[in-house]
Every structure is written in structure tokens, then in C-alpha cells.
């Protein structure tokens, strides 16, 4: 490829496929320049960030209209991939970014002095997650993970003067950097043996090695893939790499905890799917089925551990951290079902794309319910200056919308019919059931998934009981939120219910996105 060609294609790629990320990057530069020239005194950082996120979201929606069904384009010399799956996550992340910025404006967590820093980190982290969703090369896999992680280390420790905050940030950065190093070593093994980092041909290279599971080359690649999966499992807070999550969430501001629990999970799941698909080739079905079943086992452990440990918690953020771990467990069960189905001879293409779209649907429903829960925690904190279950006591009976929004979100997290969480669980369980026809181990996964829904009832009901059945303790400030915050909570609550009552529209979009990534593989 000549220099001229490279310049021409790069210009086109930047403006057509990469424009959302480009707008966010420009917003970051603008935020920093505004501070340099003291413009941030007149134009608040949150406003600049919000406009940037809205424009990026607009471009992403436009990409849906422009994209042809089932096509995928590789750009930046094979580094990134543009298909409906990428665009789905771009829109998801932009929407979540807009909602998070709105929440930080309402709860005022970065003061006006710090707000350019905070939004720079927030936008930078989101760009990293978008790159995770579109990665087509192992280099981009690593860069995306790092770009999403490094700003989030800082955001966790954003409240500089608090002991808990600094402790949480240190634990997160130490474990996170370690996990990234391990993942990198795994990438070096894969790239060394297969001679390429291009995720489009990893699978065929692996098949060409031959020799079955026992040959040294395949074993080395399997070891490398395990190390990469360990790094991704850390980002997803899967057992046994979950230990950072409760500490980081408890020490971080509730807004940041909400961001980490949804956005960074979404990016990491997109990357997990892309990575597992990249290793799929003609001769790798046996190896990949083992990975799929292993993920199922991890899903069981993660969901069970998260749900059982959450019961004993008194800090609400810590409780929701364990709830986040449990939900990551359900979602990894969907990934496990997807991998098992994809590598079997008997499953139809429809089953495979259904299992992938169940993951995408669950993520979308999870966005609203989890953000709603963390928004309530942040608003209650602003009134009571505490984040334990005591601060929630009697909130529901005070006649404001905080209790109602929390109740809707908790109902959805449990999976009560009529909420988005119910359909999310339904489609995930259905795809696990489909996978059980291929491998009977998936019946065990399904049984544990069902049992976990019951386990989770106990601690979610504890929250509802505190809000509606218990008296407010004397000396704790009442929670009276202003109209803007009420509208925000109402929006999230309504979205949770809409995804539950009218799931078809979202399911169709999720299915299209799922099919687009499979079209290139021929699975």
C-alpha cells in the first residue's frame, strides 16, 4: 500500500467510520483548551462534554442508517472493524455517556474547578470502550482495554481527600495493571505462534497448525488465550478475578461506580465475543467448546458468589457491586451458550445469533436498571451524607419518586415480569437451554442460573423492606429531591418498564447486531 493510498483511506475512514470517536476526542481537546484559556468559567465543562456526547451519539445513529445489512468494513489497515455490532455498542456507550453526564450535573460530584478533568477522563474512557467494541487486531484489543482502564483508575480515586477513595484507587490500579500485564503476555504467545495479530485470520492460522489439542503449538495458543481471557475476566469482574470490584465500587463516587458497572462491562463483553470469534476456525471446534464450557462454569461461580455475598452487605454501593458481579455471571452464561452453539455441528445459525442477541438485549436492559439504582444511591447520599442501608430506611414512604424508581430498578434486577430485566433473563436462559441440547453440562448452568434468581431475591427484598416497611431513624435527613432529579429518575424508571413491556423493538435491533458479526465468520 503506497503512502498516498494510506493517506486517502485514512481520511475517509476517519470521517465515515470513526467520526463518533473523533468527536469525543475533539471534545476532550476542547475541554482542556477551555481550561487553559479560562473559558471554563463561562462555559461549564459538563455542557461541553454533553454537547460532544450528543453529537457523537447523533453520528452513531446516522451510521445505523448508512450501514448496509450484514456488511462489515475493516479500516485503519485492518486494525478496527465497522459492522452493526460495533455501531450497536457505539450507540449504547453514547447513550450511557449522556445519561452519566446528566447524572453528574444533577448530583454535582465534580465541582466546577475539577469538572474539565473529570469529563476528560470520562470521555477518554468511553473512547477506549468504543475501540474495544470495534477491535479487529490484538494490538487494538490491548490498547482498547488500557485506554478504558487507565482513566477509570483515576476516576475511582477522584475524591482525593478521602481515605477510602485513595485505597480503592490503589487496589484497582495495582490489580488492573497486573491483569493487563498478564493479558499482554498471553497476546505475545498467541502472536508469536500464529505469526499474526489480525483477528480475522487467527482462527484459520490456528486450524493450519493442526495436530489437535495435544500439539505444542495449539497448547501454547490455548495458554495465551487463557491469559487473555483472564485479563478480560478481570475487566468483567468474574470470579476468581472479582476481588477488586467491591472495594473499587465502595470507595468510588456512586456516579463513577455506575459508569464502571455498565459501560466497562459492555465494552469488555463486546471484546470477549470478538476475541472468542476470532479463534474460531475449521479445526478449532473442540478447543473452543472447552472454552465455552469453562465460561459456563465461571458463570455459575460468579453468579452464585455474587448473590450469596451480597446478602451480608450493609453498604449499598458494596451491595450493588456484588449484584453487578452476579449479573456479569448471567451475561457470561449467555456468552458460554453462544460459544457452545457456535462450535457445534447441530445448532442452526438462528440459534447461534439468538444466543448472541440475548447478551446484547441483557446489556441494554441492564444499562437502565443499574444506572437507576446507582443514581438513587448518589441522590440519597447528597441528602443524608451516608451510603449504608440505614440511609434508605423509610425513603419509600416519604412520598417522593426516589423510592418508586429504586423499587422499579430492583424489581428489574430481580427479573419480575413487566420489567426489562425479566426479558433479559428470559432470553439468556432460553439460549442456555438451547445450548443444553448440544452439551448436557449446560443443564447444570441453567439450573444454577434459575437458583441464583431465587438467591438474589433475598438481598434485593432487603432493600425494598428498608425503603417501604421500616421507619426512618431519627436524626437522618429526609430525602426531598428537586424536580430535575425527579424527572431524571422518572426517565430511567420508564425506560426500564418500556424495555419490559415492549421488548420486541430492542430484540430486533439486538438480533440484527448479533447477525452482523456472525456474517463475516459464516457461523
Amino acid at each position: 500500500m503506497s503512502i498516498d493510498q494510506l493517506l486517502n483511506t485514512t481520511g475517509r475512514d476517519l470521517s465515515v467510520y470513526f467520526n463518533a470517536e473523533l468527536v469525543l476526542s475533539a471534545t476532550v481537546v476542547l475541554l482542556l483548551l477551555f481550561r487553559l484559556f479560562s473559558i471554563d468559567r463561562f462555559v461549564p465543562g459538563s455542557f461541553v462534554a454533553l454537547v460532544g456526547a450528543l453529537v457523537a451519539g447523533g453520528f452513531s445513529v446516522q451510521q445505523v442508517i448508512n450501514i448496509e445489512d450484514g456488511t462489515s468494513v475493516v479500516f485503519f489497515a485492518g486494525m478496527l472493524k465497522h459492522d452493526l455490532f460495533t455501531v450497536y455498542f457505539r450507540i449504547f456507550l453514547c447513550l450511557f455517556l449522556i445519561l452519566t453526564i446528566a447524572l453528574t450535573v444533577l448530583t454535582g460530584i465534580p465541582d466546577s474547578e475539577d469538572s474539565p478533568d473529570f469529563y476528560t477522563l470520562l470521555l477518554g474512557s468511553t473512547i477506549g470502550m468504543m475501540m474495544m467494541a470495534s477491535a479487529n487486531h490484538l494490538l487494538m484489543l490491548f490498547l482498547g482495554v488500557e485506554m478504558a482502564s487507565v482513566p477509570s483508575y483515576v476516576m475511582v480515586g477522584f475524591l482525593k481527600g478521602r481515605k477510602e477513595s485513595s485505597e480503592a484507587a490503589l487496589k484497582y490500579v495495582v490489580y488492573g495493571a497486573g491483569a493487563a500485564g498478564v493479558m499482554l503476555y498471553g497476546i505475545s504467545l498467541i502472536m508469536g505462534v500464529l505469526g499474526t495479530g489480525d483477528m480475522a485470520i487467527l482462527g484459520s492460522q490456528l486450524s493450519a497448525l493442526g495436530g489437535g489439542l495435544g500439539s505444542p503449538g495449539v497448547m501454547t495458543v490455548a495458554l495465551g488465550a487463557l491469559l487473555v481471557l483472564a485479563g478480560l475476566a478481570f475487566k468483567l469482574s468474574l470470579v476468581p478475578f472479582h476481588f477488586w470490584a467491591p472495594d473499587a465500587f465502595e470507595g468510588a463516587p456512586a456516579e463513577v461506580a455506575g459508569f464502571l458497572s455498565v459501560a466497562s462491562k459492555a465494552g469488555a463483553f463486546a471484546l470477549l465475543v470478538r476475541f472468542l470469534l476470532s479463534l474460531t476456525g475449521a479445526e478449532t471446534a473442540e478447543l473452543m467448546t472447552w472454552f465455552g464450557l469453562g465460561l459456563g462454569l465461571i458463570g455459575i461461580l460468579t453468579a452464585t458468589y455474587g448473590n450469596l455475598t451480597a446478602y451480608g452487605q450493609t453498604n449499598v454501593k458494596r451491595l450493588f457491586a456484588y449484584s453487578t458481579i452476579a449479573h456479569a455471571g448471567y451475561m457470561v452464561m449467555a456468552v458460554s451458550a453462544f460459544v457452545v452453539l457456535q462450535n457445534s455441528d447441530t445448532a442452526t445459525a438462528d440459534d447461534v445469533s439468538n444466543s448472541l442477541s440475548s447478551l446484547l438485549f441483557y446489556l441494554a436492559a441492564y444499562l437502565f436498571m443499574n444506572l437507576g439504582a446507582f443514581a438513587v444511591v448518589a441522590m440519597v447520599r447528597n441528602h443524608t451524607f451516608r451510603e449504608d442501608l440505614t440511609s434508605l430506611k423509610g425513603v419509600g414512604t416519604q412520598g417522593n419518586w426516589v423510592g418508586i424508581c429504586m423499587a422499579i430498578c430492583v424489581a428489574s434486577l430481580i427479573g419480575i415480569p413487566g420489567t426489562g430485566g425479566f426479558f433479559g433473563k428470559l432470553v439468556v436462559f432460553a439460549s442456555v437451554y438451547k445450548a443444553a441440547e448440544v452439551s448436557s453440562f449446560m443443564y447444570v448452568v441453567l439450573a444454577f442460573a434459575g437458583a441464583n434468581t431465587v438467591f438474589s431475591l433475598f438481598y434485593y427484598v432487603k432493600i425494598l423492606k428498608a425503603m417501604y416497611l421500616e421507619e426512618r431513624e431519627p436524626g437522618i435527613q429526609p430525602v426531598q429531591v428537586p424536580t430535575a432529579e425527579r424527572l431524571y429518575l422518572a426517565l430511567l424508571g420508564v425506560m426500564v418498564i418500556i424495555t419490559g413491556i415492549l421488548p420486541n423493538q430492542l430484540a430486533v435491533i439486538a438480533k440484527d447486531a448479533g447477525q452482523s458479526i456472525l456474517a463475516g465468520i459464516g457461523g
Binding site: L139, F142, L143, E146, V150, Y153, V154, G157, K160, G161, R162, K163, E164, S166, E167, A168, A169, L170, K171, V173, V174, A177, G178, A180, G181, V182, L184, Y185, I187, S188, L189, M191, G192, G195, T196, G197, P246, D247, E250, G251, G312, Q313, T314, N315, R318
Partner: protein, 101 residues
Amino acid sequence: MATLNAYLLVGAVLFVCGVICMATKRNGIGVLMGVELVLNGANVNFVAFSKFTSLGLDGQVFSLFIIVLAAAEAAVALAIALNFYNNHLTIDVDRGNKLKG
């Protein structure tokens, strides 16, 4: 002339030393040094693979990216370590024990 295996051995030793260092050091800075060892273990692998296998220039480009990222990560990690020191007056990671349960 050293063989590929010799380089890979150096990389593996660096990796294991780094992991042991991360797991056993109680000093926050020591843990971060362990992380650097792990990253550089991978770096040695990449450069060796790019010389001896069909990986070619990809490996060297990858290692350049790693060097830049390691610097960025070290900057962030040291800032967080300094903030931890300001709040706790020590860098002993065992003293961070307020968050548990």
C-alpha cells in the same frame, strides 16, 4: 548466535519474577515494579518473535506501543500511590484495610 528459545526463556523468567513480585511485595511501589517486569517480559517476547518468526514488524510496533503505555500507566499509578500516601502516611498496601466485607 542466540536462539529464539533463549530469548523466550528470558521473557518467561521476567514474567514469573514480575508475578512473584506483585504477589509478595507489601510496598505499593514494589508492586508497580513487578508490573513493569511483566510488561517487559512480554516485550522481550514480541521483539524475539519479530526477529525469528513470520510475525515481522508487527512485533516491534507492538513493543513500541507497550513502552508508551507502560509510561502512561506508571504516571497514573504513581499519582494514585502518592495520593494514598497523603491520606495514609504510608505506602504499605496492607494498611489499606478500610474497605472489606
